[in-house]
């Protein structure tokens, strides 16, 4: 993955979102999707696990997440943390506000 796509592009935004989501406690990693690849594509980069759809009116994000198993794991609470991290990441990158955030748990990892 490079950062050769235009600043403010969907790929740049997806990279920022991917970094933010990976930093959430309880997230083991992003998932590229189970049967169909989920990614944001740019001219020279591809961000797997994050799909950004940006239109003039809205900004929709879909993230596919591998959760880290723990006795205290509650998927809906983890999803709330993921959503919040996405919201903050988008705001910090100056891309406006997120209209819709879909969180898909593709995997629960046990170490």
């Amino acid at each position: 993955m490079g950062s050769s796509d235009a600043p403010g592009s969907e790929v740049e935004l997806a990279q920022a979102i991917a970094t933010a989501v990976r930093a959430v406690p309880g997230v083991a990693d992003l998932s590229p999707g189970r049967f169909v690849e989920v990614a944001t594509y740019g001219a020279r980069a591809r961000v797997r696990g994050v799909m950004v759809r940006q239109t003039a009116e809205s900004l929709d994000v879909e993230v596919h997440v591998c959760a880290q198993y723990a006795g205290a794991l509650v998927l809906t609470e983890l999803a709330a943390l993921v959503r919040e991290s996405i919201r903050q990441s988008v705001r910090a990158s100056g891309a406006g506000t997120v209209s819709q955030t879909d969180v898909v748990f593709d995997d629960v990892r046990v170490e």
Binding site: R34, A79, F105
Partner: protein, 194 residues
Amino acid sequence: MALFNRLVIILLALVVLVTASAVLLTTLGVLDPAQLALAGPWFVDRLVPFTQLDATNRSLTLGLCLALIVLALLLLFLEMRPGPRGARQITLKQDALGRVTVTLDEVRQLADREAGQVPGVTSARSHVETEPPGLSIACRVSVDPAGSIPDMTDELRERLKAAVEHHVGLAVTQVSVDAQVPPMATNRRRRRVA
């Protein structure tokens, strides 16, 4: 993107199949190039030389055409067969901000993991179904025959229900357990009768 690639390969395979078939039939003398006038004079002109091949080139052409036809049919089969079914998902939450989903397979794995933690369970395999207003879990376990199976299955039911409801946040309406005792290892020997 994947659909576009698939369409391109299907089209290419069809072109190869039609061309190789036309060349094969022309070489065998079954088809007269003039019969393909509808395909255009350019295509007919390309086929004419195949009516005048010597024995060596004829065999080579037939072999090549057959190989191309087999390859094209193989590609068509691979590209046109239905793809894998998508993972079944259940919605954990849906509000104005978006949707939170989890694959049913992950819920099954959580149930398997919890079942494996119950003392006396040696292996577990669960099946999870959505049954509004909640989830239904069918768990098949192999158990250690030394313990009490009714006690173990009661504990298993309670733990599965509590764990899945805790992790997933949906009500578990039914837990059925099928406990099996693995067959005892036997040490029989066949006696050979003279």
